[in-house]
Symmetry: C2
Subunit: 241 residues, 2 copies
């Protein structure tokens, strides 16, 4: 139900929505309810649509009942470009994690890596919010908000050392790693492809900062104010995009 | 209870916390519980404190029981500087409003003005979240997060026209008004004192944009992605601070 509160600025469609042999889609459930109750659409209305990982376009409502929506669709425009940032963020409380996934998708991040860090509560890793269908739902809400169609990848790294030693070097090819930490000097990194690394609410421990430095990352600070993880994510993505 | 999830990076103190005739404070309730359960403080531990609208400093725990905390306190540092932005934002859903208040306080906004706009649901104005003590609570959570002590002002303007014609001109003295709207060209305003104006999820109507322009504001866009209000607030405050 919560999804009904969001403004769905684009209705994200999936291949399975297509009625075979037609240029038409049929929707039920959340998307149909949203169009009916929030858009208050009528027959003939045009809505912004997009095909998963494909183009955006328009849908023209050809049938709308209390539980089904049909539209003729055309796809004729590219989705907005992604921003040149890979987001690596320490695991967080499930409710915050959901909002960060939505924000990352909405702001145009291509890939999200979620990793363990000493000051992350181990119980966070047990949350149902990590299940693929739950992750996908949050990403879709973010894409619909921002009129994007291209689903970002989300990877989990439940151990710090394999993340920093084995996964991170590959991400850093052609991209500068930047680590947000109160220990860093304040510095606004110039806009170029980045791997943005954000720690847990309690911060990184010195060993972790050392490992990031060894991997070639720059440690920078955010000034005297300590921001919550979700605020820091939005703030830094804005500054780097 | 929800407050216990926040990292209280500074314990905000109020004159009423001072035990008369001593350099000592006594806390009960939320702050005492936070220190006990989250900081897991012990006798002699030093905690970061700040006096409401005053200096920051340290508290040394001199007594800690299951329902009371006493600290010797010294105040010796200035709180972080505010950012040169007055935030004007159309009224939003109460749960979003709470988060926006916290974020504005955490990011160092001096003054928040909340105004009515055509596409704001009238019911939002009935929310208990607008009550002074509720507003104050969210501001304090934001200040504690960001180690600030200076409580921003929050003003409500339940009618659009009096806001834009009578209140806004005073805010614009010495500050450039900038209105975020999809109708604007993408443009990153340079960093100088600003009045940042953000509309409701459904956007401003053309009449409203016209009134802002008449008042001397610049309308700018955020690019092809439409962001949620709370994401836009954080994003734009970062870019302007």
């Amino acid at each position: 139900m919560v999804a009904l509160f969001y403004l769905m600025n684009l209705i994200l469609l999936f291949p399975k929505d297509i009625i075979p042999g037609t240029g038409r889609v049929r929707l039920t459930g959340r998307r149909q309810a949203h169009v009916l109750e929030i858009h208050r659409a009528c027959l003939g209305d045009r809505l912004v649509v997009g095909m998963e990982n494909g183009k955006t376009g328009q849908g023209c409502v050809t049938r709308l009942t209390s539980d089904e929506l049909e539209m003729d669709v055309v796809f004729n425009a590219a989705p907005p470009p992604k921003i040149p940032v890979v987001l690596c963020v320490a695991m967080m409380r499930p409710i915050v994690f959901k909002r960060v996934l939505q924000t990352a998708a909405a702001m145009g991040v291509e890939a999200v890596h979620v990793f363990h860090s000493r000051q992350v509560e181990k119980s966070f890793w047990q949350s149902t919010a990590l299940q693929p269908e739950e992750v996908f739902e949050q990403l879709v809400l973010g894409l619909e908000q921002a009129k994007d169609t291209v689903v970002p990848s989300v990877s989990f790294h439940k151990q710090f050392k394999p993340f920093v030693e084995d996964a991170l070097p590959g991400l850093l090819v052609g991209r500068q790693g930047v680590v947000a930490d109160p220990s860093g000097a304040v510095l606004l990194p110039e806009r170029s492809p980045k791997v943005l690394i954000i720690g847990p609410e309690g911060g990184f421990i010195p060993y972790e900062i050392e490992k990031f430095s060894e991997a070639g990352c720059i440690v920078f600070g955010l000034g005297p104010r300590i921001l919550r993880v979700e605020t820091a994510v939005t703030s830094l993505l804005s500054l780097l995009s």
